[in-house]
C-alpha cells in the first residue's frame, strides 16, 4: 500500500503558475520598522492626522506584544527589521487617474494572471481593485458603481475622500490592539480596498480585489473595510498570488466587515500565494485577521475561502453575531501540499437572540502538508436559542501528511443548540481504480474525487470564482503519473 499512496501523491504535485516577477521600478522605504517609517508611510499617503495617530498607537502597542505561539505551525522567528514595509511601483505622478495611466507592464502582469483590468475585456459583472505590493494600481467600474452611491476604491483614497466613514468603522471590528499581526498591520498597512454600500442598495456586480506581491523582501499589509448599510447587499471576491522566491514573505492583512440591519455581505477568497517549493523553501506566510460583525437584526455575513497557496496559513475569518436573528457562515477548502502548513478555521460569537451559524470546513492534506482546523463557537448568555452547525471533513492523500481538528465550543445559554460533525478519509485506491476503469486518467480521477469532496463549499462561491477554484485545484493536481 505504501507504494500506491506515493503514487497518489505524485498525482498532486503542483506547479505554481503565478510565480513570475514583473520588472518595474519601485519606490520603497528602507527595510525595518520604526516610528519614522510609519510617519513616512503615512506621509506618502498624505493621511489626515487621525490616521497617523492611530498607526502610532498600534505601533506602540505592538512593541509590547509577542507573536502567538498556539497555532499548529512551525517556522523560524521572523526578523521584523528585515522587512520592507512599503513598496509601490513608481508611476508618473502620484497614482494613476484612470486605467490609461496605469503602467502597461502592470496591466500585462494582471493579464498574465488571467485578470484583465481593461474594462472592455472584463467579465461583465465584476469590478476589480488591483493591489500591487503596497498600493492599489487600478480600480474598474468605479463610475458605474458611484451612480448607485456605492463606494469602491483603494483604502488610501477612502481615507482622503471618506474620512468620516473610515474614522467611524476602522478598527471597530478588529481593534488595533487585537492581536500581534493585526496590530502590526494597523501600524503599517499601506493599501487595500474600501467598500461602502448605502442603505437598501443591492450591489449589481461582484466586487473584487486582486492582491499581488511582486517586490522581494517586502511584506504586504493590506487593510480591507467593507460596510453594508441597512438592507444593502454586496458580494466581494479576493484573489492573491506572488512570485516564486526562496525567501519567506509576510502577508499580514486585516479585513473588517460590517453588516447593519438586514444587510448581507458575502466575502469569497481564492488564496493562491506562492506556497514554497517541495523542500519547503520560500513561500508566503499568510497571517491574516478577518472578522465581520452583524450589527443589526437579520444581518448576514458569509465567508467562503479556498486556500491553496502560502507556506503557512494562519487565519480565522469570524463573525460576531450581535443583531437578533443574524446569520454567520464559514465555508472553507484548505489544501496543503509538500511542506505547506495551514491552521485555519473560524470563530462564531453568538450574542443576539436566534443567531445562527454554519461552519463547513474541508481540509485536504498531501505530501508532507499539515492541515489544521481550529474553530470556536461561543454562545453568550444573551444568545437565546442560538444555533450552530459545524461540519469538518479532512481528506488525506498519501501517508506522510497530517490533519488536525481543534474545535472549541463554549455555551452559556441552555436554549442553544450546537452540533459538530467531523470525518477523516483518504482517497482510496478503489475510488481511483473505479474511475480509471471508466476511462479517466489517474490525474482526472484524483481531481474528480477532490472536487467532489469540496463540492459543498464550491457551490457557495460566485460562478466565476467557482470555475477558477476548480481550475486551481485541477492545476495543483496536474503532474506526471508515478
Amino acid at each position: 500500500m505504501e507504494a500506491s499512496s506515493r503514487d497518489i501523491e505524485t498525482l498532486v504535485r503542483r506547479e505554481y503558475k503565478a510565480g513570475f516577477v514583473t520588472d518595474v521600478e519601485s519606490d520603497a522605504v528602507p527595510a525595518g520598522l520604526s516610528e519614522d517609517v510609519i510617519r513616512l508611510i503615512s506621509e506618502k499617503k498624505r493621511e489626515p492626522d487621525f490616521m497617523l495617530e492611530w498607526r502610532l498607537r498600534a505601533y506602540r502597542q505592538w512593541l509590547t506584544m509577542r507573536a502567538p505561539q498556539w497555532a499548529h505551525v512551525h517556522f523560524a522567528p521572523i526578523d521584523f527589521q528585515s522587512i520592507v514595509y512599503y513598496s509601490a511601483p513608481k508611476s508618473r505622478d502620484d497614482g494613476p487617474k484612470s486605467l490609461a495611466d496605469v503602467d502597461p507592464k502592470l496591466l500585462e502582469t494582471y493579464d498574465k494572471l488571467g485578470i484583465p483590468l481593461r474594462e472592455r475585456e472584463l467579465l461583465a459583472g465584476v469590478a476589480i481593485d488591483a493591489v500591487f505590493d503596497s498600493v492599489s494600481v487600478a480600480t474598474t467600474f468605479k463610475d458605474k458603481l458611484a451612480a448607485l452611491g456605492i463606494v469602491f476604491c483603494p483604502f488610501s483614497e477612502a481615507v482622503q475622500k471618506h474620512p468620516d466613514l473610515v474614522r467611524k468603522y476602522l478598527g471597530s471590528v478588529v481593534p488595533y490592539a487585537d492581536n500581534f499581526y493585526a496590530t502590526l498591520n494597523s501600524a503599517v498597512f499601506s493599501d487595500g480596498s474600501f467598500v461602502y454600500v448605502p442603505k437598501g442598495v443591492r450591489c449589481p456586480m461582484e466586487l473584487s480585489t486582486y492582491f499581488r506581491i511582486n517586490a522581494s523582501k517586502t511584506g504586504q499589509f493590506e487593510r480591507t473595510l467593507i460596510i453594508a448599510d441597512e438592507g444593502a447587499y454586496v458580494s466581494y471576491l479576493e484573489g492573491c498570488t506572488a512570485p516564486m522566491r526562496d525567501e519567506n514573505q509576510l502577508h499580514a492583512a486585516v479585513v473588517e466587515l460590517i453588516a447593519l440591519k438586514d444587510a448581507q455581505i458575502k466575502y469569497s477568497t481564492v488564496q493562491n500565494w506562492y506556497p514554497g517549493d517541495e523542500q519547503g523553501r520560500g513561500g508566503i506566510y499568510n497571517f491574516v485577521t478577518k472578522r465581520g460583525a452583524c450589527r443589526g437584526e437579520n444581518a448576514k455575513i458569509s465567508w467562503t475561502q479556498v486556500e491553496t497557496g502560502s507556506a503557512i496559513t494562519w487565519k480565522y475569518p469570524s463573525v460576531i453575531l450581535e443583531g437578533d436573528n443574524s446569520v454567520g457562515e464559514f465555508y472553507s477548502v484548505a489544501v496543503t501540499n509538500n511542506m505547506q502548513q495551514a491552521d485555519t478555521g473560524t470563530k462564531m460569537l453568538h450574542i443576539g437572540r436566534n443567531t445562527r451559524s454554519t461552519i463547513i470546513s474541508k481540509g485536504i492534506s498531501s505530501g508532507r502538508g499539515q492541515n489544521t482546523y481550529r474553530g470556536q463557537v461561543k454562545v453568550l448568555k444573551s444568545a437565546e436559542k442560538a444555533r450552530n452547525y459545524t461540519q469538518c471533513d479532512s481528506l488525506l492523500i498519501g501517508d506522510r501528511c497530517g490533519a488536525h481538528t481543534f474545535p472549541y465550543v463554549e455555551v452559556r445559554n441552555p436554549t442553544a443548540s450546537v452540533e459538530h460533525e467531523a470525518t477523516t478519509s483518504k482517497i482510496s485506491e478503489d475510488q481511483l481504480f473505479y474511475l480509471q476503469s471508466r476511462g479517466l486518467t489517474a490525474e482526472d480521477a484524483v481531481s474528480m474525487v477532490v472536487n467532489g469532496f469540496c463540492k459543498t463549499v464550491f457551490k457557495e462561491l460566485p460562478m466565476e470564482f467557482a470555475v477558477e477554484a476548480q481550475k486551481l485545484l485541477g492545476l495543483s493536481l496536474e503532474g506526471a503519473v508515478g
Binding site: S4, S428, E429, D430, Q431, F433, Y434, L435, Q436, S437, R438, G439, L440, T441, A442, D444, M448, V449, N451, G452, F453, C454, K455, T456
Partner: protein, 257 residues
Amino acid sequence: MLTITDLHASCDGKEILRGIDLQINAGEVHAIMGPNGSGKSTLANVLAGRDRYQVTRGTVKYRDVDLLQMPPEGRARAGVFLAFQYPVEIPGVSNIYLLKAALNAVRKSRGEQELDAMDFLALVKDRMQLVEMKEELLYRSVNESFSGGEKKRREILQMAVLAPYLAILDETDSGLDIDALQVVAAGVNALRSPDRAFLLITHYQRLLDYVVPDVVHVLVGGRIVKSGDRALALELERTGYADLTPAPAPATMQDGR
C-alpha cells in the same frame, strides 16, 4: 474478441490464477462459475487492469492488441467495461457528472466529438429505460446512499451508456432480489449484439435463467476445469463444486534445458 492464453496472476505473492485459457468471440456470452476463492474476481480485475494483481505469465489478446500492456483507462477507452462487484462511493460527484466525463473521455480517445449537454442527457435518459432507474438518481452522488440493487443498476446504466465491446460483469447478481435481478438481466439482454461480448462472473446459476449464456466455464483453484453449454450450469446447481477438483498442473518447463 478476447483470447486468454496460459494466464497466471498473483496477489501479494500468492498465486491465484494458474493458467487460464479462454477464447471469447464477438456476439458470445460466456459465464464463469466457481466456488468462493477460485479466482473469478481476480480474473475480472486482471482484465480491467487493477495493479494490485501481478500477471506472472501468459497473454491476453483483445481485438488484436495486447491488453496487458494498457493502463486501466486505456482498456476502458478501447471498449472494455467492468461492472464492479462492490462499486465504491464517491461523495460529491454526481452520477451524471461521472457518466459524462467517462463517455467523453472514451469518445475523445476515439477521435469522436464530445457530446454536448443536451445530446448527452437525451442519450442517458434513453438508456435509463433499460434499467428502470429513476431520473433523480442521476443527480445523486456516485453510489452514496444507494441500495445494493441501485448500485448494480447503475453499473448496468454505465455499461449501456459507454457501449463497450467487452463487458465483464463481476457477480452483478449477488445481493439482488429477484425483481432487481430481472431488471439487470433485461438490461444485459438488451445490450447483446453481434459485435459485443459478455463475460458473466457468477456464483449462482440463477442469473443464467435470465441471461442465457453460450458457454459456461467452471473455475476451480485458478484454472478452468470444465466448459460446456447451459446444461453445465444446471448440473452444477445439483451437484455443487465439490466433485470438481483442479486439473493436474500442466507439466512445467524444467530449467537447465
